[in-house]
């Protein structure tokens, strides 16, 4: 039996009683990682080398939000920081059940590390007004840090639950199963709270053709740095607000299978085999 740990989190900001949930789903547009090429000299992902799509983990976050909406009633807002083309991802989110979408687009946001990204998202979420739940994916497939979610929760001064693989209860309070390296923790939290969900939580649905065709033409709200200014310190946006420096990016080399044939069956051959296994195990 995994150890069951009960944590009760009691902070409660902005909670409106009775009304349906307000859920925010931060999403990132990422390159298709099976196709993307790495510019090893510049130490960067060459984003032009592959088609862009919603970060796969974020689809699970959106699906969680849409399922809550179906069960409890909710207004789901998808929000993304990125270039104008990230509108495509947000429109996809609208087709998959989000009610509204906001894109944060400004050259001042460019070059952001996880700190500046989470800060910018937090400012926009403040501007949006109240919320009950923020649901993020576990991490993004291009950065792989898993930092934006917790940082966002810190900026907003709310608790967060990471590695959520199941929601047991959601309403006045929230009870979730968090997968912690081989242990499942059942955690209880009051709202508002930020969740980071794993891929195990659900299988994202496909949009209907009609919804998608309509969403392709739907309006996405776009906010620039100026529009966030009353909620933000602009020096914390983009590259200026990013303490992270990437020194080097490199690809591990791929080693194929290597076969070796041992022909003899005598003692010596057997110790050769044993030695080869030991060498392999290091």
């Amino acid at each position: 039996m995994p150890e069951l740990l009960k944590v009760s989190i009691t902070e409660d900001i902005n909670r409106r009683s009775g009304a349906s949930l307000r859920i925010i789903v931060p999403m990132k547009q990422v390159p298709d990682m099976r196709q993307v090429k790495f510019d090893t000299e510049k130490g960067k992902v060459d984003r032009s080398s592959a088609a862009a799509e919603i970060n796969p983990f974020d689809l699970h976050a959106l699906e969680t939000a849409v399922q809550l909406k179906e069960k409890l009633g909710a207004a789901v807002t998808a929000i993304s920081m990125g270039p104008r083309r990230a509108e495509v991802a947000l429109r996809d989110a609208l087709a998959r059940g989000a009610d509204s979408a906001v894109l944060l687009e400004d050259s001042k946001f460019a070059g952001a590390d996880t700190l500046a990204t989470s800060y910018t998202l937090a400012c926009a979420i403040r501007k949006l007004g109240g919320f009950d739940l923020i649901i993020c994916g576990e991490k993004t497939v291009d950065g792989d840090t898993g930092q934006v979610g917790p940082e966002l929760a810190e900026h907003l001064n709310i608790p967060h639950l990471a590695y959520v693989s199941k929601l047991v209860e959601a309403g006045e309070k929230l009870v979730a199963v968090c997968d912690m390296e081989g242990e499942a923790h059942i955690v209880e939290a009051s709202l508002p709270v930020l969740l980071m969900v794993t891929k195990d939580i659900n299988i994202p649905r496909l949009p209907t053709f009609r919804d998608k065709a309509m969403a392709r033409k739907a309006e996405v709200t776009i906010w620039n740095a100026e529009e966030l200014s009353s909620f933000a310190d602009p020096s914390r946006f983009g590259i200026e607000g990013s303490p992270t420096r990437v020194r080097k990016v490199f690809l591990p080399s791929e080693e194929g299978r290597k076969g070796k044939i041992f022909r003899n069956t005598n003692e010596e051959a057997i110790s050769d085999v044993a030695q080869a296994i030991l060498d392999f195990l290091g």
């Binding site: 298709d32 099976r34 088609a51 799509e53 919603i54 796969p56 996809d92 299988i203 649905r205 496909l206 949009p207 209907t208 053709f209 009609r210 998608k212 065709a213 392709r216 044939i261």
Partner: protein, 456 residues
Amino acid sequence: MINAQQLQEIVGEDWVITKREQMESYLVDETAVAIRPKPADNVILVKPASAEEISEILKLANRELTPVFVRGGGTGICGGAVPIRDGIVLSTERLDRIEEVDRANLMVVAQAGVAFGAMLKAVEDAGLFFPPHPGAENAHVGGLVACNAGGVRAVKYGVIRNFVRGLEAVIPTGEILMMGGKLLKNNQGLDLMHLFINSGGTLGVITKVIFRLCPKFISSGTLVISYDNRHEAIDTVPEILQSGITPLAIEYVERNVIEISARRLGMRWPAAKGQAFLIVMLTGDSEDEVYAQGERVSNICEKHQAVDILIAERKEEQADILKIRSEVYSSLKDNVADVLDITVPPASIGVMMDKVDTIAQRFDTTIPTYGHAADGNLHPHLMRDLHERGILRQVKREIYQEAIKLGGVITGEHGLGVVRLPDLDLCPDGKTWELMRGIKRVFDPNNILSPGIGLL
């Protein structure tokens, strides 16, 4: 009969296998167990590395009158790769090099033992596209050509035959032939290359293939269209084609089979509504073009009582649908006595489906049916109960007769192999089979290559 030592002199001692327990997996293919032919008792497995070694083996076999059975990926489902007589299994697995992806000419040159999936990947990595997609990605390139495989994406671009531009093959008397090349036109005499396509290992051992490629499409989307009624689903198909839209694929599947496949793969079939489904794959030069096609397809489907239409655009979502579809046969195999491969003119597919239903009712059974609907190609699955009740052959022949009455054939893509031969008496004869046997004699005067397979 050739002995192991003679073969070792040609290919080296590591590549001749005589112990039965080391060759079990080379003695069967993916044919359903109830009808799978029994492999012979005295078999030697040989794995040559080049056309030259194959030439030496065939010369030897021709001299010693030893039967040779050619084996690719072993994914065939009509018993074609099973050694049904004492002799040699010749596996092409060591001919596994992709020699070239020629972007200038839009061609790929691959040795016969290259796995289909590996070739697809190499082509995709080069930014190009190979349209046909027979379900088994572990089939070999040579096997695809030997079977003229069809598969899912044949509606817009055609089957494997439409993509073969050149072939290297070794004939039973040992000569190595190069037919065709990186050519789009070739009228230099009778087209022997096309004789090898769907020759199923009877005319020669294919050792190298040149396939034509296509530029990659820019945008694509896969529609999953749900119906409550299988006939409404099937009736939609000719109408889509008549409307002037030619999708990459139009597949027909039913909930009872597609869910078994999804479960086996640990995946989930995306459509929650409906019992019968069309999978329509659309491609275009822009997303707008795909959506314009999708709009027209949706209008037609809704007229036919479609209950839901989903779209997958993300690459992995589209790939998941194709994967679940491709693995249907593997997931049903253990409970299936025979999977048929009837093909009728595309507009007759609705009538054919009605006939299958009537026959199922009459014999008090269910016949799960899916297939490449736009190609008129259906795979009714005759389940094990028919075999146990001793009426498998009777049900099969009734379905065949209906297909033939509609102007169809008993196999559209799997080939005759061993298991389809006993029912060839139903097919219009004329002089055709005699001519085919004559051609076989020209290439293989001593009938050493795949004897008893593919030809009466």
